[in-house]
C-alpha cells in the first residue's frame, strides 16, 4: 500500500540564495533502499514543479542513510528579493514529505 513519506521519513529545508536544499532521512534504516528507489531527483522535481524551476541534483550518503536534493532556481530569486510569504522555503521540507511511495 502506498504511504506518505511523512510516515516514513523526516526532512529539513535549507536555502543558499536561489537554491533550495532538502534532506531526507528514513525513520527506520531498513526503509533507506525504498527511498533511494522511489524518491528520485525526477520525482521530486515533478512533485514540486510549482516551486522548482531549475535542475534538481540528488546526493546519496549511504553511511548516514541520507538523501539530499539540491534544487536550483527554486526560491523565486532567493530570500532577499522574493515576495513569497515563505521566502526561505523553510516549510518545503513538509512539501516533499507529501510524496507517496
Amino acid at each position: 500500500m502506498k504511504k506518505k513519506l511523512a510516515h516514513l521519513a523526516h526532512s529539513r529545508a535549507g536555502d543558499k540564495g536561489n537554491t533550495l536544499i532538502l534532506s531526507l532521512f528514513p525513520f527506520e534504516e531498513a526503509d533507506y533502499p525504498l527511498l533511494v528507489e522511489k524518491v528520485t531527483a525526477e520525482r521530486v522535481k515533478q512533485h514540486l514543479s510549482h516551486q522548482l524551476k531549475g535542475e534538481v541534483f540528488r546526493y546519496l550518503i549511504p553511511e548516514l542513510h541520507a538523501l539530499m536534493f539540491t534544487c536550483e532556481n527554486a526560491l523565486s530569486g532567493g530570500v532577499t528579493t522574493s515576495i513569497a510569504l515563505d521566502a526561505h522555503g523553510k516549510s518545503l521540507s513538509y512539501a516533499i514529505l507529501e510524496l507517496t511511495v
Partner: protein, 440 residues
Amino acid sequence: MKEKIRIGCGAGFSGDRFEPALILTEQGDLDYLVLECLAERTIALAQKRKLQDPNSGYDIFLERRIESLLPLLVHHKTRLITNMGAANPIAGAEKIKSIAKKLGLKIRVAVVLGDDVIHQLTGEELSIEGNKFLHTYGTRVSANAYMGIEAILPALSSGADIILTGRVADPSLFLAPMVYEFGWSTEDWDLLGKGTVLGHLMECAGQLTGGYFADPVTKPVPDLHLLGHPLVEVSRDGSGLIQKISGTGGLISVQTAKEQLLYEVTHPRNYLTPDVVADFSTVRFEEKGENQLQVNGGTGKCKPESLKVSVGYQSGWMGEGEISYAGSHAVERAKWAGEIIQQRIGDQFEEFKIDLIGLNSMHGGDLAANTTPYEVRLRVAGKSPTKEIAQRIGEEVEALYTNGPAGGGGARKYLHEVLGVVSILMNRNQIQPALKLIDA
C-alpha cells in the same frame, strides 16, 4: 596545551533567544562562547544604518546581549567570539567598552577587520547566481568577504576576552579556537575538515538541539519551550562530544544531528569555507547517553583560492496587504477579493503575487487541491522601484473592507525596502584581514 576545549553556541541568528547563552555561560564550564548573528542580508541592513549614523551598524541586539552576558563571561573566564560587529565592528567594540566601564569590568576587545571590500569593486565583477555584471543590479550598499580562521587567529593570540568580527564564515568562528588551542596546522586539511564539521553542526545553535526539528507526531522534543543551546567538547584529534546543559529542554540525537549536518549544504562532499573544502559524507554519529552525541570523522581538502563576497544592493520596495475571510464561501470570497486587487492595481507592478494563507501560500500548486479551510487569509504582495507605488497594495487591501466581498476582517498592511544580495568570488590575496585592540 589543552587536550579538550569546550565551546558553546548561544545564538544562531541575530534575533535568537537571549537566555540560552546565559545558561551556557553560567553552567557550561565553557572555554569559548560563540554568538553567530549574521544572516546573508544582515550586513547590508547594518550598512544602511551606518550610513545614517556612523556610530551604528553593529548588531541591533549587541548592547542587550553584552550587558547581560559580560559579567558572566568575565566571572567564568569564558572568551566570546561573535560576528555581532556586522557592518561596523569598531563602533560595536566601543559600545562594548562603554558597557564594561559601566559595569566596572576590565576587558580587552579584539576587532577583526578587513571583510568590507566595497571600495575594491568596480561593477565589472560577475555574480555567481546570475553570471551578470554587478553594475546591472541596483545601487550597491555593502560588499563583505567571508574571511576565515586566518583573520580570527591573531585576535585569539592577542589575549582578548571578546573577539568581535564582521563577516567571517560561520564555521570559522568555531574552528579558530580549535586551531589556536590545539596548535593545529592551518594546512592540516583533515583536521580542519573535522573541526569544520563541528562548527557547521553548532553554528545554528538551537537547530542542533531540537529547534526547527520538532514535530509533535513524528519527532517529539521534550520541553521545547525551555530549548537549550548546544556545547561541544572538542578533542585534539578533531572529534567532539555534543551536549547541552541539564535541565534545559530539547533533544540531541543522531536524528537532530543528521538534519543539521546537511542544512544549507549544497554538496555534502565539497563544503566550501575559506579554511578548507570539507567532506561531510564520512561523519559518524554515536549517542553516548541522554543528549550526548559523539561526532567522529569528516575530512577535508585544500582551501579554495577565492573567497565569496556577499554584495548587498537596493532592489526597490515591497508592499503587502492581508485580509481574512471565514465561514461559507470563504475561499471564493478571498479569491474574488484578490482578483479585484489585481484588476485595480496589478498592472503597476513588475512582481505581483496573490496568496490564500491557509490554502496555498506556502506550497501552492496541487498540494492544496481538494482541501477546504474554514477560514482563509488573502495576502497580496508586490514589488516596485518606488515606495509610493509599493504602499498602494496595503492601502487597496484595506479598502476591501468597504469596497470588496462580504465579511472581510483583520486587514493589515506592510511596507519595506528590499535589499538584495548576490555573491561574487574574489582572489583571497585581495582581502587583507586586520586587527584592532580596544581595552576597557
